[in-house]
Symmetry: C2
Subunit: 343 residues, 2 copies
């Protein structure tokens, strides 16, 4: 009575058991074509399929239809806490549509191309890229291969691929406006790598927001990466080279924590002596000392929207937008302090 372990139950077996032709079974089991089948036959087929524990072979269907119901996702480092929620959003969208998600960790950017080639061999229906650097030849390659793809968390400036991003400039404006409203004037920036779009966008955001308030950037240092270690190094340079700023807008939380490290070593107190802001609101930054004022991104929604756009493309629907820009929000904690009353 129990459904069999499937192993080798094919559409043929079901057809035999139901006393109909295989194509009838195929139609009966395909939601889109079910309507072509009489209610009577439908029942018999479904019953037979159920009894035998039939499970359509996706590999066979993929060969025939060219659609595998799989997508690939490339992330630079899955242990970076911004990516899990993005993946979760992607996977939730995929699961809801009956797709599976190949997740790959692109440790070294040179490996991205071979990974995409392997995905092509696997005949994925589309790709979500969380890794494109500025002006990436990979984007060209994907375009030429005629593959559906969406970028997430990084836009393609040349507009070849649709993208879902958070508004980096707005994010930095929120941070700067917050600091200015607290009375800060000498504001520095620990910038992200200037060869990735987010690094550039956030830096421009800081500069523009400052300009809007009639101020200019006190000083800036570029980090080699979005890591605590890079933040530490950059903060050291910032303090060694320039006059100490009243506040530092960091390109992300990890960098801000690296800045914390340096400040603690040098006996500079946050926020009494200097205010710090981050970006991402990664888990536990509300638990560090002091709790970090930062920018919260809708990471899960970023992933979800990217996946939805991808599926729209795959299923031939016109995408509703080419670039989707989501709104970040400011989360005020204790790493920023009001200095308006002081001279």
């Amino acid at each position: 009575m129990n459904p069999q372990p499937s192993s080798t139950v094919t559409i043929r077996d079901v057809a035999l058991a139901a006393g109909v032709h295989v194509s009838t079974v195929s139609r009966a089991l395909n939601p889109d074509k079910r309507s072509l089948i009489s209610a009577e036959v439908l029942k018999v087929v479904e019953e037979a399929a159920r009894k035998l524990g039939y499970r359509p072979n996706r590999a066979a269907s993929a060969l025939r239809t060219g659609r595998t119901h799989t997508i690939g996702v490339l992330v630079p480092d899955i242990t970076n806490p911004v990516f899990p929620p993005i993946l979760q959003g992607i996977e939730a969208s995929a699961a809801a549509r009956g797709y599976f998600v190949f997740v790959t960790n692109v440790v070294d950017h040179a490996l991205a191309r071979p990974i995409v080639e392997r995905m092509l061999a696997q005949r994925v229906d589309g790709l979500v890229l969380a890794i494109a650097t500025r002006d990436d030849p990979l984007v060209d390659y994907i375009g030429k291969a005629g593959l559906q793809a969406v970028l997430v968390n990084r836009a393609d400036e040349t507009g070849r691929l649709p993208a879902v991003v958070s508004d980096d400039r707005l994010a930095m404006k929120l941070a700067v406006d917050h600091l200015v409203s607290l009375g800060h004037r000498r504001i520095a920036h620990l910038a992200g790598p200037q060869n990735v779009p987010t690094g550039v966008g956030r830096r421009q955001g800081v500069e523009q927001a400052l300009r809007d308030r009639g101020l200019e950037l006190a000083s800036v240092e570029e980090c080699e990466g979005y890591s605590r270690e890079a933040g530490r190094a950059a903060m050291q340079r910032l303090l060694d080279v320039y006059e100490r700023p009243q506040a530092v807008v960091c390109c992300n939380d990890l960098v801000a924590l690296g800045a914390y490290d340096v400040l603690r070593e040098r006996g500079i107190r946050v926020p009494q002596d200097i205010s710090i802001t981050g970006h991402n609101d990664m888990p536990l930054v509300d638990m560090v000392n002091p709790p970090l004022t930062t920018i919260r991104l809708p990471h899960r929604e970023l992933g979800w929207r990217a996946a939805e756009m991808l599926f729209d493309g795959i299923e031939g629907r016109a995408p509703s937008a080419f670039t989707v820009v989501l709104r970040p929000e400011l989360v005020v904690r204790e790493s920023t302090r009001d200095v308006a009353g002081e001279l």
Copy 2:
């Protein structure tokens, strides 16, 4: 000259271009059968394949051979920071062997079965499960379906499936021994859910380690989950019901942070008034206030080893072990304090 975008380059096209039969191409491009082909023909075929940008269609090969070169991974919550490094280990092993990894987030345990069924339909070659609860019918189902599978981070007590785990008892012994050596005697435990193996194992580990030192558990509360919120609730109960302990061994870091929350609210200082230990050494617990003394697990290796075992099984090699137990290590920070000199 540039390799074509593949789209429709098949083995036939290569055969035609090389002036040989398709089966020759198939052999030439299969590392295991390459030796059957003359060096001369080999060169011609490889050249043709390269020139055309040929990319073997895995869906076709899967249909023919029954092997898809894909595995599935089920995790309960990818945003829980223990899982990304495990996934990273799995993915690294898979990539090295030319496999892809389907990652799924099993939000609700009732969804696990349908997900496994869809994976079966997708004809994955094997499964890594990070989700089994004690005595899970899913394990039976997988066994019956004849699917290769390995558990990670959770053992199957009935021994039906191979597993890679960290030594939970040893972990707790490390924590307890550390606290005892600091002079603590009244030691409590915030236990994990007793319907998952790790919850039970860690609790037993605490009790045994205490017994080994001639002590007994001062008090214990069970958390509803491995979350900060659950830790908060359990810590509240612990303080409300029992005499305040000198130290609390927590079943994991999130729970320990929940305990921090309660202690802070009640003005009980860590570590001056009470020592706290965690488990997992998740990112940033070295940055919280105070930095958490905890147990570090080899998460990445857990994933790697699980994947390696799975591939051994898939490729017909006898697995080198049925259960692999990895060693955790103690990381001492500032949430535990020496009280030996005090009365």
